[in-house]
C-alpha cells in the first residue's frame, strides 16, 4: 500500500487540476521598490466583488499565486510591516493568466505597524510552533559587533535553551542540537553555530527570512525529531553595487553584492573572520582562544519572467578550546555546503516547480588532553523535486527527494576509521486548505525510507491548523509524528564536549521517534501589542543517548512546556518579552533523570529605541540552572593490577568518579545584561555606523562547566566592552 500511495496522490491531483484549469490564475512577486529585494511573508489579499476573500503570504522567494479563480472583479491588496500598502483592482475572465509584480515602497513611518483590516482572512499558514524572523528582527539584539547574527535572536526565543557563550549549542523545546534540522537555501548544515555562542553560520546581512519551527513542523521537513531552522538567503541587488565592512574586537566582516547582468543576474558575497583570539587578552584581560569564520556566496539569475536559478555556497570554520584554556581539549570543525536551485512559476498554470540539488560536508576533530583524539566526517549529496499547486482555496505541495550520506569516524585516531554509507528516500505531500471564516487546515504526510538499513518505510502524518477568530485573535495547533534515522552522537554528560559523530541508528535498534502536540493563541488587542501563548508536549521514544563510559543508552522521554511572547512596537520603541517553561524527563532501563539542557525557566527582555541616527538596544536574560552530574571525587586509575603491571609506582590516568545517577545536581542560575548604542553618520556615498556595546554588563560569573580533573570552574564570558564600526555602501 505504501508503495502506491505517492502515485495515488499524484493521480488525484491530476484529476482535480483540469476542473480548475479553465478558471483564472493570478501569480507574481512582491519586491522592495527601492532595492528590488524580494519580500517574504507579504500578505496578498484578493477581495472578489461577491464578497469572497482569498489570502496568501509570499513565499521565501517573494512569490505568490492564486489558482482556480472565478471570473470577476478583484480588489488586490498587499500589506507588509514597514511598507506602504498596495491596492489595485483586476478584472479576471475565464482562462486568464495574469502575472502581477508588486513593488512596495518603504513607509515613511517604518516602525509603525501598518494594519489593513481583512476581516477574518488568514493569509499566512498556521503559526503553531513557528517564528518567522526577518533581517530587521536580527538587528534588534545587542551583540559585540555590528554584523548582526541569527544566533542572537534565536537565543531570546522562549523555547530555545543555550548552554552558553561557549560551544554554540542550541536546544529547542527539549530537543538536542543534533535533533534540529538546519537548512540554508535547502542545504543541510550539520553544525550551524560557531564556537562562540553569539554567532552562527548566518550573518544578518545574508538572511532573507528564517523560519524557526520549534516543533510541529509540516511534512516538507523530515529526518529530525525536534525542530527546524530553515534559512532563506537574500539575493544580491540586480540594480546597483553595494556592500559593507565592519570591524570590532570579536569579528571583522565584509559583504559585497551587485548585478552581474543588470536586472537579470546578481551576486552576493559575505566573509567574516574572528579577531577575538588576538585581542581578547588586551580587551577583557582573559584569553578567548576561539578562531572562527564563515564565507558565503550566492549567484542568482532570472531565466525567464517567472523562473530563476540560484547557486549558493557556504563554508564555516571553527577551532579552539571550549573551556577557553589554551592548553586544554581542542576541537575544530568545518562545514561546507554547495547547492543549486531552479524555481519556475509558470503563467499558464497555478503551479510552481522547485528543484534543488545540494552537497554538504562536516568535518570535526577533537583532541582531549588526556584521551585519544577523535575524528568524525559526514558528507551528503542529494536533491529534491517539489511541486506546488495553487487552487482557489488550497495549496497542495508534493515532492520527492533523496540523499546519500557517508559517515567516517573514529574515537581513537590511532585506530581504524569506521565508515558507513546510507541512502535516504523521501516523499511528502501537504496541503493548506482555506476553509473560510479564518480557518486553515494543513494536513501532510511524509514517507521516508532507508534501503540500506532494511527498515520498513516510515510513515509520518502531520497536521497544522489555525483559526483567525478575529483580527485580534488567532488560535493555532500542530501535531505530528517524526523519525530520525541519522543521529549525532555526543557525550550528554560533558557539556564541554561538543564533538559530534554522525551515524546511522544501529540495525538492531529502533528508529528514534517523537510525537509533537502544540496548542497556541495569539492576541493582538492593539496594532502595536501582541501576546502569544503556546503550550506543547513532545513524547520521545528510542533516543540513543551517549552517556560517557556507558556508551549508547536507549532512552525515552517527555517534554512539556509553555512559551509566552509579548511584543510592543511603537516608534521609537520596540520591546519584546519572552518567557519559556519546559520540563524534560529522560528515562532508560536504569534511571529517570532530567537531561543537562533541561533549564526549566527562561526569561528574556529585549528593548530597542530608535530615533534619527541613534539606536539603543538592550537584552536581559535570566534562566534557571541546568542539571549536571555531580562528582564523588578524582583518583588515578592504575588499570588491572597483575604481576607484570607497575601499579606500585605508576602515575595512572586521572579519572573522575561521577555520581551513579546522572544529572542530579543543578548549576547556578544564569543571567546576563547586554547593552549597545549605535549612531549612523551619513557620508553621502556611504553610511558610517559607530557602535559601543557591553556584553555581560554586570560581569556576572555565569557558570559554564567544571573541569573535574583540574578542579577548575570555567565561566561564561566576563564583561566584554566593545567598540565597532561599519561602513555600508548601498
Amino acid at each position: 500500500m505504501l508503495r502506491v500511495l505517492p502515485a495515488l496522490v499524484l493521480c488525484a491531483l491530476c484529476l482535480a487540476l483540469p476542473a480548475q484549469a479553465q478558471r483564472a490564475v493570478l501569480s507574481g512577486a512582491v519586491t522592495d521598490a527601492e532595492d528590488g529585494q524580494e519580500l517574504v511573508g507579504v500578505n496578498v489579499i484578493l477581495n472578489r466583488e461577491d464578497g469572497q476573500q482569498f489570502g496568501r503570504a509570499t513565499d521565501g522567494d517573494g512569490r505568490f499565486a492564486f489558482g482556480g479563480l472565478l471570473p470577476g472583479r478583484y480588489a488586490v491588496t498587499a500589506t507588509f510591516l514597514g511598507y506602504d500598502a498596495y491596492a489595485d483592482t483586476l478584472d479576471l475572465a475565464f482562462g486568464d493568466r495574469v502575472m502581477l509584480d508588486i513593488a512596495l515602497a518603504p513607509s515613511e513611518t517604518a516602525m509603525e505597524t501598518v494594519t489593513v483590516e481583512t476581516e477574518r482572512t488568514a493569509a499566512t499558514s498556521s503559526p503553531a510552533g513557528l517564528v518567522q524572523l526577518r533581517p530587521a528582527d536580527l538587528a534588534v539584539i545587542p551583540s559585540p559587533d555590528l554584523s548582526g547574527d541569527l544566533a542572537g535572536v534565536l537565543t531570546v526565543q522562549p523555547g530555545i535553551t543555550t548552554i552558553g557563550d561557549r560551544g554554540g549549542q542550541l536546544y529547542i523545546r527539549g530537543g538536542t542540537p543534533t535533533q534540529n534540522l538546519v537548512l540554508i537555501d535547502g542545504m543541510r548544515l550539520f553544525q550551524p553555530f560557531h564556537i562562540v555562542g553569539f554567532y552562527s553560520a548566518f550573518p544578518a546581512e545574508i538572511v532573507q527570512q528564517a523560519d524557526i519551527y520549534a516543533g510541529g513542523f509540516g511534512a516538507r521537513y523530515g529526518g529530525r525529531i525536534s525542530s527546524v531552522i530553515d534559512v532563506k538567503t537574500r539575493n544580491g541587488s540586480k540594480q546597483r553595487f553595494g556592500g559593507s565592512a565592519s570591524l570590532a574586537p570579536f569579528l571583522t566582516s565584509v559583504r559585497v553584492e551587485g548585478p552581474i547582468v543588470p536586472d537579470e543576474a546578481s551576486f552576493v558575497l559575505s566573509v567574516r573572520e574572528s579577531v577575538v583570539e588576538r585581542v581578547a587578552e588586551q580587551v577583557v584581560g582573559e584569553a578567548l582562544p576561539y578562531r572562527f569564520g564563515d564565507a558565503f556566496g550566492k549567484l542568482h539569475f532570472f531565466t525567464g519572467p517567472a523562473s530563476f536559478v540560484s547557486l549558493t555556497g557556504l563554508r564555516t570554520t571553527d577551532a579552539g578550546t571550549i573551556s577557553g584554556l589554551e592548553d586544554q581539549t581542542r576541537i575544530d570543525w568545518t562545514n561546507e555546503a554547495l547547492g543549486g536551485r531552479f524555481f519556475y512559476l509558470p503563467t499558464s498554470l497555478a503551479a510552481a516547480l522547485d528543484v534543488t540539488v545540494n552537497y554538504a560536508a562536516y568535518r570535526s576533530s577533537f583532541a582531549p588532553d588526556r584521551a585519544p583524539a577523535r575524528d568524525a566526517d559526514v558528507k551528503s549529496f542529494g536533491g529534491q523535486f517539489a511541486l506546488a499547486y495553487f487552487l482557489e482555496r488550497a495549496d497542495v505541495r508534493l515532492g520527492f527527494g533523496g540523499q546519500t550520506l557517508q559517515f567516517d569516524y573514529t574515537f581513537n585516531r590511532r585506530g581504524p576509521v569506521r565508515r558507513e554509507r546510507t541512502t535516504e528516500g523521501t516523499f511528502f505531500v501537504e496541503a493548506d486548505f482555506d476553509l473560510g471564516r479564518g480557518v486553515r487546515v494543513e494536513p501532510g504526510l511524509r514517507l521516508q525510507t532507508f534501503p540500506a538499513q532494511q527498515r520498513d518505510i516510515s510513515l509520518e502524518p502531520r497536521l497544522r491548523a489555525s483559526w483567525t477568530a478575529s483580527p485580534k485573535l488567532t488560535l493555532s495547533s500542530a501535531f505530528g509524528l517524526y523519525r530520525q534515522e541519522i543521529i549525532g552522537l555526543n557525550d550528554e554528560r560533558d557539556i564541554g564536549d561538543v564533538f559530534t559523530a554522525w551515524a546511522s541508528i544501529p540495525q538492531n535498534e529502533p528508529t528514534p521517534r517523537a510525537l509533537h502536540a502544540i496548542l497556541g493563541a495569539e492576541v493582538r488587542p492593539t496594532s502595536s501589542f501582541a501576546l502569544g501563548v503556546e503550550g506543547y508536549a513532545k513524547q520521545l521514544d528510542a533516543m540513543q543517548v551517549l552517556l560517557a563510559d556507558r556508551g549508547l543508552v536507549r532512552s525515552n522521554g517527555e517534554v512539556f512546556g509553555l512559551d509566552v511572547r509579548a511584543s510592543w512596537r511603537r516608534a521609537p520603541f520596540n520591546l519584546l518579552a519572552t518567557y519559556g517553561y519546559s520540563a524534560s524527563t529522560y528515562r532508560n532501563a536504569r534511571e529517570e533523570y532530567r537531561p543537562p539542557h533541561d533549564r526549566r525557566h527562561r526569561l528574556n527582555l529585549v528593548g530597542e529605541f530608535r530615533r534619527g541616527p541613534w539606536r539603543l538596544a538592550t537584552r536581559w536574560q535570566l534562566a534557571s540552572g541546568r542539571p549536571f552530574t555531580r562528582l564523588i571525587g578524582v583518583f588515578d586509575d592504575l588499570g588491572p593490577p597483575d604481576a607484570g603491571s607497575d601499579f606500585l609506582t605508576a602515575e595512572g590516568t586521572p579519572t573522575a568518579i561521577p555520581e551513579t545517577t546522572p544529572f542530579r545536581g543543578l548549576t547556578p542560575a544564569y543571567y546576563r545584561l547586554d547593552v549597545s548604542a549605535e549612531r549612523d553618520f551619513d557620508l553621502g556615498l556611504a553610511v558610517l555606523t559607530l557602535q559601543a556595546s557591553v556584553i555581560n554588563t554586570t560581569d556576572r560569573a555565569n557558570f559554564f562547566y567544571y573541569d573535574a580533573l583540574r578542579a577548575d570552574r570555567i565561566d561564561q564570558f566576563p564583561l566584554i566592552p566593545s567598540l565597532g564600526l561599519r561602513v555600508a555602501f548601498e
Binding site: V634, F635, F647, P654, A669, R700, A711
Partner: protein, 286 residues
C-alpha cells in the same frame, strides 16, 4: 574530605567596582532574584580510598597501593589509612605497614605492604580505614583453588606420542611448563627437566586444553644423556599460573585487586606410552 563550594576561578568582584545607580539597581535585582553564582560539583559519598593491589600466593610479601579520593587530580600524596587483611578461614588479621614511594613522575605515593604468603583457595578481606571518621573501603579477594588436571588418552602416530591435558579452571592459565623428573638407571640422583609451553591453552567447555608433545620433549631430554643410556620416568607435572579473570572489585571506592598463584599438577602416563617414548616406567617410585 573537604566538600567546599568552588567559586569562580578568578575571584572577580561580582558587580565590579562601578557604583552608579544602574549598577545598584542591578545589584538589588540580582539579590531579589536570588541568583547566587556558587557552584558545588561534589556530592557526599561513602567512597573513601582507591585500592590497587595483588595478593600473590607465589610471594612472601604482599603490596597494596592506596589513594584517597580527592577533589583534584594529583592531590593524592600521602595517605592516612589503616590497612588490614583477614583470612576468613582462620579469622587471622594482619595489619599492613605503609611506605612512601616516589611515583614515576617524582610525586609521592603510598604503598602498604605485609609479610605473608596467602593460601590458595582462601578468601581474604582487605580493609582500608580512614582513622578520622572510620570510613572504610573493602574488598573480599578469593585466591584460586587448585583446579583438576584431566589428561586425555595419549595420541600415538607412528612412534610419536602427544597428549591433551585439560586444566579445569575458570580463567586461562599462563606460564605453562611441563616438568619431567627422570633418572638414568645407573645413577641415584633424579634430574628435573622443565619444558616451557608458550602457546595459549585452548578454551573448551570444561577448561583450557594444552597438547603436550611428549615425544618431542623426551627427545630433547634424552639428547642430554649419553647415547643408549637407559632413563627412567619418575614423575610428570604440569606447572601454570592462575590469576582471577576479572580483578576483584572494591566496595566503597574505585580500584581493583588481583590475585596470582602457581600450581603444579601431576599426572601419570600409562606404561605402554612410557615405553613408546623410549623411557622406563618408574612413576611413583620416588
Amino acid at each position: 574530605m573537604s566538600k567546599e563550594s568552588v567559586d569562580r576561578k578568578d575571584g572577580r568582584d561580582r558587580m565590579g567596582g562601578n557604583r552608579s545607580p544602574l549598577f545598584l539597581f542591578l545589584l538589588l535585582f540580582s539579590v531579589a532574584t536570588g541568583c547566587s553564582d556558587r557552584f558545588d560539583p561534589f556530592v557526599e559519598s561513602d567512597q573513601t580510598f582507591a585500592l590497587y593491589g595483588l595478593l600473590d600466593a607465589r610471594q612472601g610479601t604482599q603490596f597494596m597501593r592506596v589513594q584517597p579520593i580527592t577533589e583534584r587530580a594529583g592531590d593524592a600524596g600521602t595517605v592516612d589509612a589503616r590497612v588490614t587483611s583477614t583470612d576468613l578461614a582462620t579469622s587471622e588479621t594482619i595489619v599492613w605497614r605503609d611506605s612512601l614511594v616516589q611515583l614515576d613522575e617524582g610525586v609521592p605515593g603510598t604503598v602498604f605492604l605485609a609479610d605473608f604468603q596467602p593460601f590458595v583457595g582462601r578468601v581474604y578481606r582487605i580493609e582500608a580505614t580512614r582513622p578520622a571518621d572510620g570510613a572504610t573501603t573493602t574488598a573480599e579477594v578469593r585466591l584460586p583453588a587448585e583446579p583438576t588436571l584431566r589428561p586425555e588418552k595419549p595420541d600415538v602416530f607412528n612412534t610419536l606420542v602427544s597428549q591433551l591435558l585439560t586444566i579445569e579452571s575458570m580463567g586461562p592459565p599462563s606460564a605453562l611448563a611441563v616438568t619431567y623428573t627422570v633418572r638414568p638407571v645407573d645413577t641415584e640422583e633424579p634430574v628435573r627437566f622443565e619444558v616451557a609451553y608458550d602457546e595459549q591453552p585452548v578454551p573448551s567447555e570444561t577448561g583450557f586444553g594444552l597438547i603436550v608433545n611428549l615425544s618431542g620433549d623426551v627427545g630433547v631430554i634424552l639428547s642430554s644423556f649419553e647415547e643408549n643410556t637407559e632413563v627412567e620416568l619418575l614423575d610428570l607435572e604440569m606447572g601454570y599460573d592462575l590469576t582471577n579473570e576479572r580483578p576483584t572489585p572494591v566496595i566503597g571506592g574505585p580500584g581493583q585487586i588481583g590475585v596470582a598463584a602457581r600450581f603444579m599438577s601431576g599426572w601419570r602416563l600409562a606404561p605402554e606410552f612410557v615405553e613408546t617414548l623410549g623411557l622406563v616406567d618408574a612413576q611413583g617410585a620416588e
